[in-house]
């Protein structure tokens, strides 16, 4: 295989950075969750690349667990968004301002 591992790492580094940009700049809670998913995908990519490098499945197993936990987190997060929307009719985190952000 000709693609060196650093290319995969670089790809994941860029993906991670895009995710961080999304979390820091977007104010819509759902988009923030999407950006966090992007970050997790970048992490997963790194782990799979290393897993291939070390010729061991440990990294892939870790990715499997990351996916499970991400699903649980998103489920709870969206339930929260729905609950808040019921109270306030907005999901923008700028408008959620009873308490200082």
């Amino acid at each position: 295989m000709e693609i060196p591992i650093s290319y995969y790492l670089l790809l994941s580094g860029i993906l991670f950075t895009i995710g961080v940009v999304g979390v820091l700049t977007r104010r819509n809670a759902i988009v923030v969750f999407m950006s966090i998913e992007l970050m997790l995908n970048a992490v997963n990519l790194t782990l799979v690349a290393f897993s291939k490098q070390f010729n061991s499945l440990d990294g892939q197993i870790f990715v499997f667990f990351v996916m499970v936990v991400a699903a649980a987190e998103v489920a709870v997060g969206l339930a929260l968004i729905v609950a808040i929307f019921r109270l306030k009719q907005t999901v923008s985190i700028d408008k959620i301002n009873i308490m200082k952000w």
């Binding site: 991670f16 970050m39 290393f50 990351v66 987190e73 709870v76 997060g77 952000w101």
Partner: protein, 502 residues
Amino acid sequence: MNPSEIIQNNINSLSYFLPELILTGMIVVLIIADLLLKKENSAWTSLLALGGLVIAFVAVLNQYDLGSRSIFNDMLAVDPFALYFKLLFLTSAAFVVLLSIGSVELAGRPVGEYFTLMTALTLGLFLMASATNLITIFISIEFVSVTSFILATYLKTRRRSSEAGLKYTIYGAFSSGLMLYGISILYGLTGTLDIYEIGTKLAASSANSLALLISIILMLAGFGYKLAAVPFHFWAPDVYEGAPTPITAFFSVGPKAAGFALLIRFFNVAFATEATNGEWAAIAGVNWSQLLAVVAAATMTLGNLVAIVQKNVKRLLAYSSIAHAGYALMGVVLLSDQGVYATLFYLVVYYLMNIGAFLVVIVVQDLVGSESIDDYKGLIWRAPLPAIAMGVFLFSLTGLPPTAGFIGKFYLFAALIKGGPGFYWLAVVAIINSVISLYYYARILKAMYFDQQDEKEPASLAVSPYYVVLLIALVVPTIFLGVYWAPLADLANYSVEFLRAL
């Protein structure tokens, strides 16, 4: 290892996993009980939860003669260090159940889910205290996070509570993303997920120190989030204010202590090599103990400075608990048995005085319906017992004798001074901080003891006997440990021993 050995190891490990199995069983029992019980009998669920915690407590005590060992193919460790934290989690969970039973805030809300999730949270804390593999570390942190998100939102019909929950979730997911990136770099550097192997591999080879430093900083995001250490403390004040007060009390003790357990175990096994006389050396290339020292100093300073301007007692206690995480971190940066010992001791002391302070907040909330410092005015004349108890807890939080807080801080400072001149500056910062904290704790004391109450308030408030018993149950040990602390000190000393190598 061949497959049958691995499976045999898993089966043999079950007997060392008894407390966790009891808690898991309890989760299922609580769900079923909630289905079967009629609404008017739902109070039984709380007693059921309490019973489960007591049984688990006995099971943990029984593990003391097992010694240190690694279970489930090196996924978790059972050692005195983990047991110490497990006992702390169970007692605080039991206290929180007791606080919840009396709480007016929670009256009329479904109890089944509440106690189920609280048992689940306790299970997560158990796993955090004993995780020895990056996978179990990650899963246990997330376990605690997800259950905490839900419990913080338990008063979901109140805006404050649900918004606190959302903020908590977003910060939590973000910091776990950062931590995962750190974990993946660490995996790339060492090729293993087992923290013992990581330790030996990092000690043997000189890894790229920049990569290692980035990995450590990113992982600190995950741990710092659980400790509510600067700069990952943003969620704490809002969540503490928005969550039901018993849950706030639990958050300020349980997940924080579990974060310390994880931090101490992980950093000392993976990123340090043992030298002599119960002292370690940080691995070459990355001076993470200085990094942690800076975090500790920043955490206590920020917590104390922002606490000064708070008008809401619950929020003030939130900032004070951030500051206390900074104090407790001082023991971790020393890289010595004595430092860890001081931290362990301090966490128990902190548990007593902090839960106590929150109990007074609950009592006053139920009587007056407010958490503002202004409504604490003249409390001594209206409800003497909570006011006196609060005085004891605040004295202890400041670290004045003859309370447990004094002894806890004394141990921390003693360890710091003994650790050599490298950390004298941290001791100075901590002393200045203690003085600052005196100022804002004294504000509450002044309001309670010296300020005149407004005319419209009733002359005296009746505190229910249930709360009286709970208050006494917390005040007595807070003072008692300030006078005779040897048993706890011995236990903490014994618990410094954790599984350092396989």
